[in-house]
């Protein structure tokens, strides 16, 4: 009933259904109505993690060692617990930088290094090879088992069948065809394969349902539920040990947990579906618990099926890896068996398609293109449309990858169990973990560190896991494992450097991680980052601090024309996509690219990101560099940028200082304004006072003049008395006007000074002579105390005399009414010539000692008996003395007279400021 043809036809029909789904979804996506933009499809697509390994291998593992198949699924759950730190960050970074693969991610992080991209690609291809072979083996084995129906026998490894008759080879070709159909129908700048994602999600559903169906059949069909099954198993001695965990496998349990924690991120296909194909970061929020839930559900029946198989086929004649298939066959459930086969096929094709697409992207973007672009004789950078070339490279690499997988299967696959093969791949993928995790959390990680760590880890992995698998299948002498290469015991691949007591996987993981992490950290600490590395490190580690998803190094300098960049984009993504992208770019920024000739750094970066989506970061950088005449900044330029930055900082400091100065100036201005207001008020007072001082004598003059005029009959005596008053008041008026003019001249600096070396004694004598009338009039006693020798001073003689006369008249004015005494003295002091005039009047209060030298100040103070005083004398005296470079002041004990004194320096030029 289940003939080879019916199985083949069913399989093909199933694959066609998958393709139809993918095709439909792609069409919908092209029309802008995405089907896969929901978290459930996203979570199901991540479930591509469950491959034939899960579907067949887990049961096989459980049948031999019990529950230790489980850590492989607990690890991813643990990683998803910390999704907030790890997955979210990786996705955010990848979106910002248009990362297309894990190789792209690592190369981009470490300065868009081509070398790293190549290294990661090689490790991935070599590392995943066993994993692909595992799928091929599972499909071909399951097919061959199913073919035997209704017999339940495991076909013996039939020696070496000719390649063309080998089911596995045919499976490989079919899968390659599908991968090409799904993944490389066109080159896509965003590198999303919506159709493929939808197909994968569908496959995840199919394999889950198929597995659950078998599980339910075994648990509730062959047995009466879990209790019955487990009780039966417990009662069977050779199976009972599967229900508990033996102490010996603790180490491996931990190893598997750690390994799968790394694998869920580091496996190229997981990176592809989880990161690259993620259309919306928000989907992660649901997927982080949906995916572990999927794992939990699919694992519920693993142990029951394994136990059922062990109990059904006690002799060990049936390969435990096929229990999922053989148990339904055993019970003649042919449709269930076929469904189980389709489920297994689903699991295998899903993995192979995604892995092939992910690897082919890496091979084309990070291995072949960079190399081709460097081969200048190909003149690739100058050629036109490269999309065809890109597609060709990808398709070829898909075929190559599957053939490599087949080759591994053909050479080795028959000898190992599925899980063992898969774990070899896991260990290879785990080598990426230090570079990735370090790369997103540790800015100091350098390219050299990553290269060293990866290389060493990969080498150790190959030596401790890959080569022994060759040895086990006879391609290397088995002594290589047992005695070490050339008999060197220390180098035994499973007991490297004498490390014993660990299973081979834990042993390999320990050594490879030791050298990987050690090399990465040590070299990172020892080597310096280049400018671009530093920039990328900051962009990756601080991705959440960047305001938007606009990543990319902004430090491109140099020039490129818009036309060049446009041509470049067209060549890699095709004309329509290029125009759409550029149109969107221009619209978003309100630019008219048609009018723009020179591209700015922003457009250069945009182009680079866009190309990175098609050909990877490293290649994109090379391509853009070929049209942008500038180059990536060197460390000198970064230093220059830093210098400019520090200049800006300096400048802002200067600005701050200026603003502080401005504030100070403002304060000064305000103060000055206050002073001006004060001066204005003083001027007002001054004018009012001047007015008063002028009006007072005028009043007398006018009054008496009018009296004389109106009273012609006045007697002679009275008339002459009145006339005398008029004359005196006129003199007073004249004096006042002269003083005001003098003061105004002096203040304005327009006074004419006639400077000369003069003898002060003569001046004092003359002043005393001039004032003698005034002294006599008031009956004031005069004492003169002049030093024998007085130095000559360089002054204006008349002005000096004016000062002394002013002081004398002032003293006479204020001295004691009845017993007036004025003392004039002169001597030489340190400051120069010292002259003082003292009276015995009421004295000056301390608070007024400065004020009295202001104009008219005395007018407001004590005007008692002030004959002939204008209030300007002291102000003028001060102006004169200060002009001569000296100072004038008053000393007084109130009630005991005042002593006005001034000094004039010797041999000192007049103060220039007032001299015109």
């Amino acid at each position: 009933m289940l003939s080879g043809w019916s199985i083949l036809l069913t399989s093909l029909a199933y694959l066609c259904l998958l393709f139809a789904i993918a095709y439909y979804v792609d069409k919908r996506a092209d029309a802008g109505r995405s089907v896969i933009a929901n978290p459930y499809i996203y979570a199901l697509s991540i479930a591509v993690y469950c491959t034939s390994w899960t579907f067949y291998g887990s049961v096989g593992r459980a049948a031999s060692s019990g529950i230790d198949f489980l850590p492989i699924y607990l690890g991813p759950t643990l990683t998803f617990v910390v999704w907030w730190f790890v997955l979210r960050k990786i996705i955010r970074i990848s979106k910002a930088h248009r990362i297309t693969s894990i190789a792209d991610f690592i190369s981009s992080r470490y300065g868009k290094s081509t070398q790293l991209g190549v290294l990661v690609t090689v490790i991935a291809v070599v590392g995943i090879m066993p994993y692909i072979s595992l799928q091929l083996k599972a499909v071909s084995t399951s097919f061959n088992v199913l073919l035997q129906y209704p017999e339940v026998i495991t076909p013996h490894p039939s020696g070496r069948v000719p390649v063309l008759q080998d089911t596995a080879f045919l499976v490989a070709l079919v899968m390659a065809a599908f991968a090409i159909l799904f993944g490389t129908r066109h080159i896509d700048a965003s590198e999303h394969h919506e159709g493929m994602v939808a197909a994968i999600a569908f496959e995840s559903l199919v394999k889950l349902i198929a597995f659950l169906a078998v599980g339910l059949f075994v648990t509730f069909g062959l047995y009466d539920g879990f209790a019955d099954l487990f009780t039966t198993a417990r009662a069977t001695p050779e199976v009972a040990n599967l229900l508990t965990l033996s102490g010996a496998s603790y180490g491996q349990w931990m190893t598997l947990t750690l390994l799968s924690m790394a694998a869920i991120v580091c496996l190229p296909r997981q990176f592809q579906v989880t990161v690259v194909e993620n259309v919306n970061e928000a989907h992660l929020e649901k997927a982080v618990w949906l995916f572990p839930l999927y794992l939990l559900i699919i694992n519920i029946f693993v142990l029951p099926i394994a136990l059922g198989g062990r109990l059904a086929f006690p002799g060990g004649g049936v390969d435990a890896d096929t229990f999922v298939l053989t148990l339904p066959m055993f019970d003649q459930q042919e449709f269930l068996a076929l469904f189980a086969f389709i489920g297994g096929l689903s699991a295998a094709t899903g993995m192979v398609i995604v892995a092939a697409i992910a690897l082919s992207t890496m091979v084309s973007n990070d291995l072949v293109m960079p190399v081709l672009l460097r081969l200048t004789w190909l003149r690739l950078t100058e050629r036109g449309d490269l999309t065809v070339l890109l597609l060709f490279i990808r398709r070829a690499s898909i075929i190559l990858i599957l053939l490599l997988g087949y080759a591994y299967f053909h050479l080795i696959g028959e000898s190992d169990a599925l899980v063992t093969i898969g774990l070899v791949s896991f260990a290879a993928a785990a080598q990426f973990a230090p570079a990735i995790i370090g790369g997103i959390f540790w800015k100091a990680g350098t390219r050299r560190g990553a290269v060293t760590g990866l290389s060493l880890g990969f080498a150790v992995w190959a030596y401790t896991l890959l080569l022994p698998s060759f040895a086990r299948s006879g391609w290397l002498p088995i002594e290589f494992i047992d005695a070490g290469p050339l008999g060197m015991g220390l180098l035994k691949p499973h007991e490297l450097f004498g490390l014993q007591g660990m299973d081979s996987l834990s042993h390999a993981l320990f050594w490879s991680m030791l050298v990987n992490i050690g090399g990465y950290v040590a070299l990172s600490l020892r080597s310096h980052q280049s400018a671009i590395e530093r920039i990328q490190a900051a962009l990756f580690v601080d991705v959440f601090r960047q305001s938007s998803a606009q990543g990319g190094s902004r430090f491109w300098r140099g020039s490129a024309t818009v036309a060049d960049l446009r041509a470049l984009i067209v060549r890699f993504v095709g004309k329509s996509t290029a125009e759409r992208a550029l149109g969107g770019y221009a619209r978003a920024r309100g630019l008219n690219l048609a009018k723009l000739r020179q591209a700015d750094a922003d457009l250069v970066n945009f182009t680079e990101r866009l190309l990175a989506g098609a050909i990877g970061a490293a290649s994109a950088r090379v391509m853009v560099a070929s049209v942008a005449k500038g180059e990536v900044v060197g460390i000198e330029e970064v230093m220059k940028i830093l210098e400019e930055t520090s200049q800006v900082i300096e400048y802002s400091h200067t600005l701050e200082q200026k603003s502080r100065e401005l504030e100070a100036t403002t304060a000064e201005l305000r103060a000055a304004n206050e002073r001006l207001k004060e001066l204005d008020r003083l001027k007002d007072d001054f004018l009012s006072t001047v007015s008063h001082e002028l009006r007072t004598p005028l009043t007398s003059i006018r009054s008496f003049s009018e009296i004389l005029f109106d009273n012609p009959d006045l007697d002679t005596e009275e008339r002459s008395r009145f006339l005398t008053i008029i004359v005196k008041e006129s003199e007073r008026l004249t004096r006042l006007i002269n003083q005001i003019l003098d003061l105004a001249k002096m203040e304005a600096g327009r006074m004419e000074w006639e400077l000369d070396d003069i003898d002060p004694r003569a001046v004092i004598d003359e002043a005393l002579a001039v004032s003698s009338g005034l002294l006599a009039e008031k009956s004031v006693r005069l004492e003169v105390k002049l030093d024998g020798h007085l130095p000559r001073v360089h002054v204006d003689r008349d002005r000096l005399m004016q000062v002394i006369v002013n002081l004398l008249s002032n003293a006479v004015k204020f001295c004691h009414e009845a017993h007036g005494l004025v003392v004039v003295s002169a001597e030489t002091r340190d400051e120069g010539l010292y002259v003082s005039v003292a009276d015995n009047g009421p004295g000056v209060a301390p608070e007024n000692r400065r004020m009295i030298f202001e104009k008219f100040q005395q007018a407001n103070e004590a005007l008692t008996d002030r004959p002939g005083g204008s209030g300007l004398g002291l102000a003028i005296s001060r102006q004169i003395v200060e002009y001569f470079g000296g100072r004038i002041w008053v000393e007084s004990v109130p009630g005991h007279g005042a002593k006005f004194a001034f000094t004039i320096p010797l041999e000192r030029a007049p103060v220039a400021q007032s001299a015109e």
């Binding site: 995405s34 487990f230 618990w289 572990p292």
Partner: protein
Amino acid sequence: MYRPGLVGERAIALFLLAFLAFNPPLLSIFSADVILFGVPLLYFYLFCVWAGTIALIGLHAVSGTRAAGEEPPAPPGGGEFGGP
């Protein structure tokens, strides 16, 4: 109320807890020849802890993202590119 910093702290706490629960030596306590509700104790224990962990991830993922107040960037597709 959630603080954004708390999201990370809770995630790490849950991770450490789950890591301990999923691994020896804690595991060995439950590795006994006992049947509970018809299911071996170890099996029962692992799936219960697993389910609990998943439930906690789900709870934190929802409230965590909201608490962080951070809108993930809009999905591409309508942005710079009209379509893929």
